[in-house]
Amino acid sequence: MANPSCESEPLLGNSAMLHFVEVLIIALMLSSTYILIAVGFTLFFGAIDIIQFAHGDVAMLGSFVGMILYALGHITGIALVLPAWLFVIGVMLGTLVITGGLGVLFERTVIKPFRDSPMLMILVATIALGIIIRESVRLFYPEGSNPQVFPRLFPQAGFQLNGLYFRVGHILIFGISLLLILTMMIFINRTKTGLAIRAISQNIEAASLMGINPDLAILVTFFTGSVLAGIAGILIGSYFSVVKFDIGLMGGIKGFSAAVVGGLGNFNGAILGGLTLGMVETFASAYIPGGAPYKDVYAFIIVVFFLVFRPAGLLGEKAYQKV
């Protein structure tokens, strides 16, 4: 297809730099949503060697739980009594607890029964779980098939700095993502519970002989992973303004791919993988003329590249066993 944009003047000097920085910011925002989902995948894989394919749908549930809580707050009048920021924090905390709880419930009902079965069983079970979650939202949420306008949780104000436009809401979204990722790193690497999770990920029998309750550690893993997904759901909803019952499908695949690129099971790898995917997608859309329709293609070419040439990912420790 002829692309007329090629015919326009080349980008020059300051304006080109400005464009680059703007695209970089956009890419960072997108990457942070991928990272929040990728971390869950990597946690579950690290802890008990499973791939929870419904994890993207848990993130979608986060968006919808957030919307329901927001609406309930307005119906009951709580939103009017509380200061706006406190209400938003309340909605986020509520969402976090509910999605975390749902994550644990899914683990107990769908994943635990298959813990000693071949990996393929869990794969199929979690794919089925994802379909159940998606379809339930579609059928039971009012007009669930349609895109839903996400409430404005964060301030809409913006400001201009050196020709770049910033939204206070977006800075908050990015800040919260960063904070969550850092907290998660500290939690995994510096706390006793984190140590327990890392221990069962290395050898579940040896860890239980050392007095670690594997059931509890797995429960904590699923709770934290799902909490992150739930928050990711709220942040995605706020950033894109619209959510739909099936956003978890692509979100999950992207999050999973990010984890694979970084090295499944490696926490820093998930961050690196999320960044890689978000950057490739955004820069391809912004810089390759006519590249926007193929942004997912570029992203998944990277994934295939890693699977073929570096199956352990950027920072992966576990060698992949082909099934």
């Binding site: 007329p4 326009s8 003047e9 464009h19 703007e22 739909k244 692509m250 926007a292 942004k295």
Partner: protein, 390 residues
């Protein structure tokens, strides 16, 4: 004598009874099924539901009037804006329900898939939505007619209004990569070329894209930059683009489109960012028109949307033709539909040799305080409000 009286009464009662039976036989009209397909779920559900209700209203009114030799029944199917669902729905209407005529589709890709089904079964199909030129022009199936304007007509009107009347000459185009978006892209380029507009960039995006910021950032960096960002696509993406334009400080660019986002959903989704968007919209029907009054009186839950009047006129046109030539001879039905000159709420409707209406009315609209307002009635035309760069 008494016996005679009793006999007379008995005979009279029997006669009356028989007459009554005969009368009720006469009242038992043949039921004729008319098919309706549209997106009742999915991203364009608002358009589909508004059209469905309007078609339903037309059927109810015809049945209530009682001047038709038939009783009509509307068989409603959902295509969910998805071609394969649409084909399944069309096949069911043609084979199981055996509808006489169907009025169909908001989405062009769905219509481009189902025209073959209706053609195979010889069932006349009238489009109330779906504006891709190929629907009527490519195969020219005798069964297909369309009561709304196509992309070529819409874009000519948009380009002439914005370029010639308001002086917005340089454009950046974004379009979705469906056949609908592609046809918009082609039509807008051709229309701009005709009136001396200039296309500075064109980007395709897959339907379902949520992040338009990378493309918008590129448009922002163009030197010289465009005066207009045009989107050829449907409502959700359309609203997201306007939201993200506003977030990125691109308030000085005019945002324009065609009937694909002539829906209140656009204003609801883009919220305050929607202000000042200009589109060529479906024909505006006055709030005090008999159609709107009847629609409201019927108590439908959903708004009739821009598509409602088209589905209403299509259904009325179909029943008028069936009343005239009967429901059984499909070939005759298709031929009569194409030859008719019908006067409905859209004004006069007449089809060309491709089954494309020559008269499907359009109205320039602008988003003002969260509503689509006809340009001539807006504060933008009086100068109270002003569009970007004006």
């Amino acid at each position: 004598m008494k016996l005679l009286k009793v006999t007379f009464v008995i005979i009279a009662v029997i006669a009356l009874g028989l007459w009554g039976v005969q009368f009720s036989f006469a009242a038992e009209k043949t039921t004729v099924k008319i098919g309706f397909i549209g997106p009742l779920t999915g991203p364009n559900a608002a358009f589909g539901l508004g059209a469905r209700n309007s078609a339903d209203l037309a059927v109810k009114e015809t049945n209530r009037r009682g001047d038709s030799p038939y009783r009509y029944e509307l068989v409603v199917m959902d295509d969910a804006s998805d071609p394969s669902t649409g084909v399944a729905a069309a096949t069911k209407l043609c084979t199981i329900d055996k509808v006489a005529v169907a009025t169909t589709h908001f989405n062009s890709p769905v219509g481009l898939a189902t025209i073959h089904v209706f053609h195979r079964y010889g069932t006349p199909q009238m489009f109330w939505g779906g504006i891709h030129p190929d629907i009527t022009y490519k195969h020219n199936y005798p069964e297909v007619t369309r009561i709304c304007a196509n992309t070529i007509v819409e874009h000519n009107q948009l380009a002439s209004f914005l370029v010639e009347k308001l002086g917005y000459k340089t454009w950046s185009i974004i379009y979705d990569t469906t056949s609908y978006g592609d046809s918009c892209h082609k039509a807008v380029k051709d229309a701009l070329a005709k009136v001396g507009g200039e296309v500075l960039s064109a980007d395709g995006v897959p339907v379902g894209t949520q992040d338009f910021r990378p493309i918008l950032s590129r448009i922002k960096a163009l030197k010289p930059g465009p005066q207009v960002i045009y989107f050829g696509g449907v409502v959700t993406e359309a609203a997201l683009i306007k939201l993200q334009m506003t977030e990125m400080g691109m308030k000085n660019l005019l945002y324009a489109g065609v009937t694909g986002f002539d829906s209140e959903t656009f204003n609801k989704t883009a919220r305050d960012a929607a202000e000042g968007t200009v589109i060529v919209g479906k024909k505006a029907i006055g709030e005090d028109s008999p159609f709107v009054k009847a629609y409201k009186a019927e108590g439908y839950k959903e708004y009739y949307e821009a598509t409602g009047p088209y589905a209403y006129d299509a259904t009325n046109l179909i029943t008028a033709v069936i009343n005239k030539v009967g429901p059984d001879d499909k070939k005759l039905l298709a031929k009569t539909i194409r030859g008719i000159e019908y006067h409905g709420i859209l004004g006069p409707t007449k089809f060309d040799e491709f089954g494309q209406t020559l008269t499907g009315g359009l109205t320039m609209k602008v988003s003002q305080e969260g509503n689509w307002v006809p340009w001539d009635a807006s504060e933008y035309s009086t100068g109270k409000r002003s569009l970007p760069q004006k």
